[in-house]
């Protein structure tokens, strides 16, 4: 009997964004992500109520992955953000908040979505063109002759993740390590195409963060029993390495689809073991010093090899194979008969190391684009968060090499951009209005777009402080809570969000929320200002630019929905 059941009819919802329920869930989501944003963001604890793993985080990648949303609109929003994060690692919260802000603002102004979507596209291309242009006032070219700027970039990423629970000293230490491990992955002699190496993060939980370190070469974790057996090796310049991807356990594989008839008294295991020992003989004759195997090595072969002073390491796993074959210059061997001498590789030296309670075998290699990053943190939760942060920072550095620019962080890019767009759309609306929109429509949409950017910058502050912007550069300034009224702003404020400008200049400030009249933010960042400033807050250019595009595209996509058809099966 077939178990075919009639399908249930789908649920069809029209104009989903007008429904109160959807708006409420959207604002709940917005509340969750907004409160996580920035260095003073609040942490979220995620657990399933049945015990087990608890995740404390403020990062978008961890938060969105664990959050389960039910409404299709939220689903599509969170998936878009996760896709962005998996591409660029950084700026996930930025994108998500901007997208929510845009949707909320557009719903508030009540124009038909078709108009808003087209105008949003114009504003987006205005923004991206500005950020890509030479005279952009919030983009800095990266100076690779000095590590200062890259260090600032890494430090900004670390400080924006409060769930790592790092002190200032630790932040400095870890950001230096991250930069070091990144620099180790850059090959020394570069051909036309740079292929970056890899830094392998080795977990060491329960140690102090200060104990983290970066070592060139590869660390392989082994048990202390193995380490005891390891004999001091010959004192030679290099060690010959053989790396096997085939199993050396003596099991029979690949006998074909047919059956195999074995005459009584014939032992295939013996035959296989003979074959393995032959292989062992060959390895010894070829003066191999180190044998590594992805899978299992037969104990007899192990015994045989160690009596001949050959070190054997097995069960490496598939993940280590590629870097191992790269650093040692070996070709993974897949045959058990007659190994070609060309597939052997070499390592410079071999030493054992002990970090915390773990024992490692440290392969020091000639090829030096692969390093091991021993990462420590106090407990599992904070370690996970720190690991994610380190990966983000490494990825951001890679992106920065591809496009050597950084954006000003600390909310300054957003406020500056908003001021620029306001001014541009106000003064030169002709290019946009030629498609047949009225001035009022444009003003409304520009208002929605810019206030989405400004309230995004505003969500960096969680303690009720006053948010200001200056009328010269359009940067972001934060005043302490409960500042007395009618005071001199110049004394109260010290530096802007990114740290580029000091309040001692002759500036005029206004509250960010009340900025209605447009002004020309100063474009063309002078080189001297950047050089003189230190400890800037910087953001990844590629990730932020793409995040901006992604946020507007996703918001447009959601605003364009007229029906939702939910399959109930």
């Amino acid at each position: 009997m077939s178990r075919l059941e009639a399908k249930k009819p789908s649920l069809c919802e029209s104009e989903p964004l007008t429904s109160e329920r959807v708006r409420a869930t959207l604002s709940v989501l917005k509340g969750i992500i907004t409160s996580c944003y920035g260095p003073s963001g609040r942490l979220k604890q995620l657990h399933n109520g049945l015990g087990g793993y608890v995740c404390t985080t403020s990062q978008s990648s961890a938060l969105l992955a664990h959050l389960s949303v039910t409404h299709p609109i939220l689903k599509i929003l969170t998936t878009a953000m996760q896709n962005h994060v998996s591409c660029f690692s950084d700026c996930g919260l930025f994108t998500a908040i901007l997208c929510c802000n845009l949707i909320e603002n557009v719903l508030r102004i009540g124009l038909p979505p078709t108009t808003v979507i087209k105008l949003n596209k114009h504003l987006l291309s205005l923004s991206t063109n500005y950020l890509k242009s030479e005279f952009c006032g919030c983009r800095i070219p990266v100076n690779f002759s000095n590590t200062e700027m890259l260090l600032c970039l890494v430090r900004s990423i670390l400080t924006s993740k409060p769930a790592c629970m790092l002190t200032h000293k630790e932040v400095d230490h870890v950001s230096a390590l991250i930069l070091k491990s990144f620099l180790l992955t850059i090959p020394e002699n570069v051909q036309d195409r740079v292929i970056l190496g890899k830094s392998i993060i080795v977990p060491l939980k329960g140690q102090r963060v200060i104990d983290s370190t970066v070592l060139p070469g590869i660390l392989i974790e082994i048990s202390d029993v193995q380490l005891m057996k390891m004999l001091p090796t010959k004192n030679s310049d290099s060690l010959k390495v053989a790396l096997f991807c085939a199993s050396l356990s003596g099991d029979l594989t690949g006998t074909g689809e047919g059956s195999m008839v074995v005459t009584y008294g014939v032992s295939l295991e013996n035959a296989a073991l003979d074959q393995l020992l032959n292989l062992g003989n060959q390895l010894v004759n070829d003066h191999v010093d180190l044998v590594m195997c992805q899978k299992v090595v037969h104990p007899s072969l192990k015994q045989f090899l160690s009596t001949h002073h050959v070190i054997v390491i097995d069960r490496l796993g598939a993940a280590l194979m590629e870097p191992l074959s790269k650093v040692t210059g070996t070709q993974p061997i897949g045959s058990l008969d007659s190994v070609s001498p060309s597939s052997y590789g070499s390592v410079k030296d071999l030493s054992s190391a002990r970090f915390g309670s773990k024992h490692f075998l440290h392969l020091i290699t000639y090829e030096s684009t692969i390093c091991s990053f021993l990462l420590c943190n106090r407990n599992e939760t904070t370690w996970d968060e720190l690991k994610l942060t380190c990966q983000t920072a490494l990825h951001v550095l890679q992106l920065t090499i591809k496009e050597p620019w950084v954006l000003l962080g600390g909310g300054c890019t957003e406020t500056h951009l908003a001021a620029y767009i306001r001014h541009k759309a106000c003064r030169e609306p002709e290019s946009i209005l030629k498609d047949g929109y009225s001035q009022t429509e444009l003003q409304l949409v520009v208002g929605a777009y810019c206030s989405a950017l400004e309230s995004l910058a505003g969500s960096l502050e969680h303690d009720g402080g006053d948010i200001l912007t200056d009328m010269k550069y359009g940067h972001f300034w934060l005043a302490q809570t409960n500042s007395p009224p009618s005071i001199n702003w110049q004394d109260l404020l010290s530096r802007c969000g990114c740290g580029l400008y000091s309040s001692q200049e002759e500036l005029k400030w206004s509250f960010l929320k009340s900025t209605q009249h447009s002004f020309v933010p100063q474009t063309c960042l002078p080189q001297e200002t950047v050089i003189s400033a230190n400890k800037l807050i910087l953001d990844c250019y590629t990730a932020k630019l793409s995040g901006l595009q992604m946020a507007v595209e996703t918001a447009n996509m959601i605003l364009d929905l007229s029906y939702i058809i939910e399959d109930q099966n």
Binding site: K75, I76, N83, G258, L268, D274, T554, Y563, D567
Partner: protein, 719 residues
């Protein structure tokens, strides 16, 4: 319980569908989000997908959906328009019968009562296509057709018109901000893939068949990052990779290369340990020889459908051969189709292995897109298709899928566009014991009366101006009436007079043709040749063509007099010279015929259908049906112009078009898009068929089980 299926019920159902569908129609349409039971979220404006994902329960609705999907399988587009047509047809039919019921008492009523029986209307629907629609399309609509070919004789594609075709298609299919970009991408892709201007049918077919393998979706990047890349991208990673400079060759294998101990249904008998070891050694030696032989043939890439053993990968690596395993059979068949390479079968003797089994590769590199690895192959093509892949980016999978579907659909539509669609009203004319030449002459003679008819329709509005204000712009008739500032009839007569002389010549040609038919049957056969662009072989036909050229010359004079050149007609060449006789071949919609988008097909057809209906040589019910269909046709332009104001609003546009048609001027169009005529025509035809089905069913009987198929006579043996 059996339920009687009334038109009212069907109308109710289709009206619900129409409200959903009409929100996504046209350039102002919006998106619909569909969730799947698996949790996937899809964005879509594709009518077929929407109707499918609704999982409707109502039997009539399900029948309609299945009709739509069978139409989609053929044409690939038009599901939304289908539902809208159907809805309006049913609505008009319903209204028409209501009116008739009210006027039963009149003398006219008796006849009407008969007509109202659905069966009769259904029959009229069936005959409508052959009797009226094909005729109207061939004789009146044809002169408005434009072509996507830049020169019709050689059938070379015109890039700009194809772009506007795609643009129009995408405006109805993807999100508002992306249609320009994606249509650019499609035409880029198309022209990059074509080796030469001709032979594009092969390219379309290949892309349509293998689109899944030719496209890569990347999520998390803005849509504008999408691009076309030269070469083929395989959705796999290398098992072992060796970079090779310069040209190299590849082999394709479908099975494990290294020999196994035993194949299926055979036994391998091991009698001693030595024997076992020797055979293992033999296997290894064999693998090694094959690999070194491959290398000697400059093979540096091995593409395998199955997983190869570690040994094969190892020896391939030793010989500098890159290996890709576990490719899908579709990917491999695509590679075979492009390069013409046969799968490599490991030979018994290495000497048997020939060079014919390898294909040339320009480059072979790993490609990383969003931290996922792919293989980028520069294949050298053996056919008209130059391999290119398209990388489609978008924020979410749902949008990428939408763009993929749309991209794929564009190639389906192109395939449809370049087919000739035959119209079979000639055969119908024969049934009516009317010789084709007579029919043609009669028609052309009738068209002489057209100016008078125009006068008539112009005069009538003046008589009925009082009614005008009360009635809304619903009825097409009233739309002409609202023509507040009509050009004087005198001018129109002037515009027509050269046209009518041209038609006299046309009549002569027809008569010559008729005589020709009578004299030489073999020539008739030649003329019946369905090829649209038959070269002239006989002097008589050549003479005929010269006369046709004269006509066209005169006609162009007419257009000049009219003085209304348009952008689209300047850019595109008309399919034929507007009045050239079409009787040198079977009547058909020639391949590549297009019309400006935005409801022009509907308005034209509406206009000509009404004209035909008023000439009164059709039966009563056909005439009524023509009017109903003509009215329903206007629903599309009305929806398309819903948000437009002023000059572009529907009544204004309709009046303008009707006026230019009456004046015999070429159509002016404000829109830049184009759409295929054949698909529109097919759509209308299949809607009529669906309508017939709805009208002929009177009862819906629910059954518990699936209706059994007709029993085999053999099954009786079991009893």
């Amino acid at each position: 319980m059996a339920v009687s299926l009334s038109v009212k019920e069907a109308l109710r159902v289709v009206e619900v569908l129409e409200t959903i569908v009409s929100s996504c129609v046209g350039p102002e349409g919006r998106q619909v989000l569909c969730t799947k039971p698996t949790g996937e979220v899809m964005l879509s404006r594709d009518g077929g997908r929407l109707l499918g994902s609704l999982h409707l329960e109502h039997p009539t609705a399900r029948m309609m959906v299945s009709c739509v999907s069978s139409h989609l399988r053929r044409a690939g587009d038009g599901a939304k328009t289908y539902i809208i047509y159907l809805c309006h047809l049913l609505r008009e039919l319903h209204a028409a019968t209501d009116k008739v019921m009210g006027s039963l008492g009149q003398a006219h009523g008796k006849h009407w009562k008969k007509c109202c029986q659905w069966k009769l209307i259904a029959r009229a629907c069936l005959s409508f296509q052959t009797q009226v629609l094909d005729c109207v399309v061939d004789q009146h609509l044809k002169k408005h057709f434009l072509s996507v070919f830049s020169s019709p004789k050689e059938r070379t594609l015109c890039r700009s018109s194809l772009e506007s075709l795609f643009e129009a298609y995408l405006r109805g299919r993807v999100g508002r901000n992306h249609h320009g970009f994606i249509s650019q991408l499609i035409s880029d892709y198309l022209f990059k893939c074509m080796a030469h201007e001709r032979g594009f049918e092969e390219v379309f077919e290949l892309v349509d068949d293998c689109f899944l393998e030719l496209s890569i979706g990347v999520t998390g990047l803005p849509v504008t990052e999408s691009k076309v890349v030269a070469g083929l991208v395989l959705h796999r990673d290398f098992s072992v990779y060796y970079p090779v400079e310069g040209d190299m060759r590849l082999v394709v294998v479908n099975e494990a290369i290294h020999p196994l101990f035993s194949s299926s249904e055979s036994e391998f008998i091991v009698t001693s340990e030595i024997q076992f070891q020797t055979s293992q050694f033999w296997i290894m030696e064999k693998t090694r020889t094959i690999m070194s032989h491959l290398r000697s043939q400059n093979v540096h890439l091995l593409l395998s459908r199955v997983k190869q053993s570690d040994m094969v990968v190892y020896y391939a690596g030793l010989n500098g051969i890159s290996v890709v395993e576990c490719l899908s059979s579709e990917e491999l068949s695509l590679i075979q189709r492009i390069t013409g390479v046969c799968p490599f079968v490991p030979p018994q003797e290495p000497s048997q292995f020939g060079i014919s089994n390898t294909a040339l590769v320009k480059f072979c590199t790993p490609l990383i897109l969003r931290s996922k690895r792919y293989i980028h192959l520069g294949l050298v093509s053996n056919c008209a298709f130059i391999p290119h892949c398209v990388i489609l980016c978008g924020p979410v999978q749902g949008m990428v899928e939408q763009h993929k579907d749309t991209f794929h659909g564009a190639f389906k539509i192109l395939q449809q566009l370049f087919k000739d669609h035959h119209l079979n009203y000639m055969a119908q004319a024969n049934d009516q014991n009317c010789l084709p030449s007579h029919l043609m002459c009669k028609n052309s003679r009738e068209s002489h009366q057209e100016p008078e008819f125009v006068h008539d329709s112009l005069r009538r509005p003046y008589q009925e101006t009082v009614v005008e204000n009360k009635e809304k712009l619903r009825k097409p008739q009233t739309c002409i009436k609202t023509h507040s500032n009509p050009v004087g009839p005198n001018i129109e007569c002037e515009a027509y007079s050269p046209g009518s002389t041209a038609k006299e010549i046309l009549t002569d040609v027809c008569q010559i043709d008729g005589r020709l038919r009578g004299l030489s049957p073999n020539k008739t056969r030649m003329m019946d040749n369905p090829k649209p662009w038959t070269e002239s072989h006989s002097p008589a036909i050549a003479a005929m063509e010269t006369s046709a050229m004269e006509i066209s010359y005169e006609n162009s004079q007419v257009t000049k007099d009219a003085g209304n050149g348009t952008v689209s007609s300047a850019r595109l060449k008309p399919v034929e010279t507007p009045l050239a006789p079409s009787n040198d071949c079977l009547p058909c919609i020639p391949a590549g015929s297009v019309l400006p988008v935005g409801g022009y097909f509907e308005i034209l057809l509406h206009y000509y259908l009404l004209n035909c209906a008023q000439k009164g040589r059709q039966s009563e019910e056909t005439r009524v049906l023509s009017k109903i269909i003509a009215k329903a046709l206007l629903s599309i332009p009305r929806i398309l112009c819903k948000y437009k104001k002023g000059k572009h609003s529907f009544p204004q546009m309709y009046m303008r078009t009707a006026h230019t048609l009456q004046a015999g001027q070429p159509m002016s169009s404000s829109s830049t898009g184009l759409e295929s005529v054949a698909s529109k025509y097919q759509l209308l035809a299949s809607v009529l068929q669906c309508l017939t089905t709805i009208l002929t069913i009177d009862l819906v009987i629910p059954v518990k089980r699936q209706p059994r198929e007709v029993c085999d006579p053999d099954s009786e043996d079991e009893l």
